[in-house]
C-alpha cells in the first residue's frame, strides 16, 4: 500500500526516519510550518526556515524517494509576539506561491488570544487571495471551543469548508467538523493526541469521507510511522481496504491537491531513487556509504559502518 503523511515535521527528524517511512510505503508527505520548540525572536529565522522547507528539506526527502510538500504560515504560538508577527506576515507572500507549497498552515489558535485571532484572520485572507487550502492547528486546551471558533472564523472570512483541513481532531470534535463540510484530520501522536485504536473506532463509526490521518511527528516523542502502522491496525481490525486507502492516502491528496501543486504523477512517475548516480559521497550519504538502489538488495551487516 502507498501512504501519504499530510502532517510531519521532517526538519526535526533523522535520515533513519526517512528510510523507515519509505520502506513502510510513504511516498509523499506534507511539512507544515510550525514552531521549533522554543520561540524565534527574529523574522530572518522565519525566512530561513521557510527557505529550508522548500529547499534543503525537499532535497533531503527526494534522496529517499519521498515527495516533500509543505504548507507555509505563521503558527499560533509565535503570533503572540506581535512586532515579530507583523514582520513574518510580510514574508509570507514571498513563499505561498512557490512550487510544492500546498497550503497556508499550520495556523489557528493555541491560547486563543486576540493576537492569535488577528494573525489567523490575516492568513485566512491570504489563503483565499491565492486560492490555497488552509491547514488548521486546533488548540490542545479548550479544544472543542477552539475548534468550533476556528471554523466559524474561516467561514466568516469566506473560505469554502472544502478548502480547509481542520487538524488534531478527537472524538469530541469530529462530528462538528464533518457536519460543517470541513476536512477532519487526526494526529496519531502518543499520549497527547489520538491513539490508533481509538482512530480505528472513529473510522468504523464515521466512515472514510473527508477523514485523514497524520503523524505530526516532530521533536517530541512521536512516531513518523504512525500512518502506515494505523493502516495496518485498521486492516487487522476489519476496516475495509478502501476505507484505509481513503484515510491514509486519497483524502489527503484530494484536499491538498486543490492547490494545483500536488499530483499523484509526482511520485508515481518519478525516477526510481538511485543515490549512487546522484550523490554518493556528499553530506547525506557521507563518503563511502553503500547507496540505496531501488530493486537492489541491501545485505549490509548492520554492525558494520563503512
Amino acid at each position: 500500500m502507498l501512504f501519504i503523511d499530510p502532517h510531519v515535521h521532517m526538519t526535526s527528524r533523522t535520515t533513519d526516519d526517512y528510510e523507515a517511512m519509505r520502506n513502510a510505503g510513504i511516498v509523499a508527505m506534507i511539512e507544515p510550518a510550525f514552531w521549533m520548540g522554543q520561540p524565534r525572536t527574529e523574522a530572518g529565522t522565519f525566512k530561513d526556515y521557510y527557505s529550508h522547507l522548500i529547499g534543503f528539506e525537499r532535497f533531503r526527502a527526494s534522496q529517499f524517494g519521498i515527495k516533500h510538500y509543505c504548507t507555509i504560515g505563521l503558527n499560533s504560538k509565535e503570533a503572540n509576539n506581535e512586532p515579530l508577527a507583523e514582520e513574518v506576515i510580510e514574508l509570507l507572500p514571498l513563499f505561498v506561491l512557490k512550487e510544492g507549497v500546498v497550503g497556508v498552515g499550520e495556523i489557528g489558535y493555541d491560547d486563543q488570544t486576540p493576537a492569535e485571532d488577528k494573525y489567523y484572520r490575516l492568513q485566512l485572507d491570504l489563503a483565499k487571495e491565492v486560492n490555497l487550502p488552509v491547514q488548521i492547528h486546533t488548540p490542545h486546551r479548550d479544544k472543542r471551543k477552539g475548534t468550533l471558533r476556528s471554523m466559524e472564523v474561516a467561514l466568516e472570512h469566506g473560505l469554502e469548508p472544502g478548502m480547509v483541513i481542520v487538524d488534531h481532531n478527537n472524538e469530541e470534535t469530529v462530528k462538528d467538523v464533518l457536519d460543517r463540510g470541513f476536512w477532519a484530520a487526526f494526529t496519531i501522536y502518543p499520549h497527547t493526541k489520538m491513539g490508533n485504536e481509538r482512530m480505528t473506532e472513529i473510522v468504523r463509526q464515521y466512515g472514510h469521507e473527508r477523514i485523514m490521518i497524520n503523524s505530526a511527528a516532530d521533536w517530541g516523542i512521536s512516531d513518523p510511522l504512525a500512518v502506515p502502522k494505523t493502516a495496518q491496525l485498521m486492516l487487522e481490525r476489519g476496516i475495509s481496504e478502501e476505507s484505509v486507502r481513503m484515510v491514509t492516502y486519497q483524502n489527503a491528496l484530494a484536499a491538498f491537491g486543490q492547490s494545483g501543486q500536488m499530483q499523484e504523477s509526482d511520485w508515481l512517475e518519478a525516477n526510481p531513487v538511485d543515490q549512487s548516480l546522484k550523490f554518493s559521497g556528499n553530506s547525506i550519504l557521507r563518503g563511502g556509504q553503500t547507496p540505496r538502489i531501488d530493486t537492489g538488495e541491501n545485505n549490509n551487516d548492520s554492525r558494520i559502518i563503512r
Binding site: 521557510y50 525537499r58 532535497f59 514571498l94 512557490k98 512550487e99 548516480l277 550523490f279 559521497g281 556528499n282
Partner: protein
C-alpha cells in the same frame, strides 16, 4: 535589456513550445515588470504558465547558443527554466549593485528548482564580474541539483572564479562523485595546487579502502612529480581496467622522462588507448553508468 541577442534566442526557442496562455502571460510579464515585487511573483509562478517540459533543441540551435555565449549549452534546459531566465534578464534595476541586491533576495527565498535555475543562468546575466561571490556560494551547497547547476556544463566558474574557489569546485565534484568531464574548461584550469590536493585525496581514499573515480587522475597528469610515480604504478596494477587506463592517460600528459619509460612497459594499455580512442571524456562517460 542586458543581452538582446540572448534574449531573442531564448524567446525564439521557448515560445513555440508554450501553450497560448503561457505565451500571453510571459510576454505580458516581460513587457510590464516594473517593481521588484512583480518580478518575485512572476518568477515563482512561471511554471504554472509554462509547464516544465524539456525543450527540443536542434544541433544548429545548440551551436547558436555556443556562439552567443561561449560554453552555453542549454541541451537539458526546461521551459520554466528558460522563462525564469528571461524574467531574470528583465529585473527592473538602475545599477549593477541594485541588480545584484534583487538577485540576492531572490536566492535567499528560492526553492530547489529556482536555485538550480538561477545558478545555471549566471553565465548569461549582465554584470558578470558581480556574480563571483554568488558562484562560490553555489559551490558550497549540499543539494546535488543545485551543485550541478553551477559546476557542470556551466562556463561561469571557468571564466570568473579565482583559483581557490575553482579548485574547491573541482574537489567537491570529486568528493561528491560528480562527472568531472562535464565541468566546462576543466583541462584549461588544471593547476599544481589542485593536482597535489587530488593526490592527497587519493591517499585518503585508499587508506579508508574506498573507491576513487578514475577521472581524478585527469587533474594530476601534467603536474606529476617523481615522488608521485609510485601512486601511478599502484594504479597500473589495479584490476578494474579503467584505473590503469587513467594512469596511462595521466602519464601521456606528463613531461617527466620516467613517465615515458613507465608507459613503454605497458604496450597493451597504450595500444588500447589508441585503438579505442580512449580519452578523459570517454573515461568520464563510462565511469558513472555502472
Amino acid at each position: 535589456m542586458p543581452n538582446a541577442a540572448l534574449h531573442e534566442y531564448l524567446l525564439r526557442i521557448l515560445l513555440p513550445q508554450l501553450p497560448a496562455t503561457g505565451t500571453t502571460w510571459l510576454q505580458k510579464q516581460l513587457a510590464n515588470l516594473k517593481t521588484e515585487k512583480e518580478f518575485y511573483l512572476a518568477f515563482s509562478v512561471a511554471p504554472r504558465f509554462t509547464g516544465k517540459k524539456h525543450l527540443p533543441f536542434t544541433e544548429a540551435e545548440l551551436q547558436e547558443a555556443e556562439k552567443l555565449r561561449s560554453g552555453f549549452n542549454p541541451a537539458n534546459w526546461t521551459a520554466d527554466q528558460v522563462a525564469r531566465t528571461l524574467l531574470v534578464f528583465a529585473i527592473p534595476h538602475e545599477s549593477p549593485e541594485a541588480y545584484v541586491a534583487t538577485l540576492d533576495r531572490l536566492f535567499s527565498t528560492a526553492d530547489l528548482n529556482e536555485l538550480a535555475t538561477l545558478y545555471a543562468s549566471l553565465p548569461l546575466l549582465p554584470y558578470p564580474e558581480y556574480h563571483v561571490k554568488r558562484a562560490a556560494e553555489g559551490v558550497r551547497t549540499t543539494m546535488t541539483q543545485v551543485f550541478d547547476a553551477i559546476a557542470l556544463n556551466n562556463p561561469y566558474p571557468h571564466d570568473y572564479l579565482p583559483q581557490e574557489a575553482w579548485n574547491q569546485l573541482v574537489l567537491k565534484s570529486v568528493f561528491n562523485v560528480r562527472p568531472l568531464y562535464q565541468i566546462y574548461g576543466l583541462d584549461n584550469r588544471r593547476n599544481e595546487a589542485l593536482a597535489q590536493i587530488a593526490i592527497d585525496y587519493a591517499h585518503e581514499r585508499w587508506a579508508a579502502g574506498r573507491t576513487l573515480t578514475p577521472e581524478l587522475w585527469r587533474l594530476v597528469g601534467p603536474f606529476l612529480k617523481p615522488e608521485n610515480l609510485k601512486d601511478i604504478q599502484r594504479l597500473l596494477q589495479t584490476a578494474e581496467e579503467v584505473q590503469p587506463l587513467a594512469a596511462a592517460l595521466a602519464l601521456t600528459e606528463s613531461n617527466l622522462p620516467e613517465a615515458e619509460e613507465i608507459l613503454a612497459q605497458h604496450p597493451a594499455l597504450t595500444a588500447k588507448i589508441q585503438a579505442e580512442n580512449i580519452t578523459w571524456q570517454t573515461i568520464g562517460e563510462n565511469a558513472y553508468t555502472a
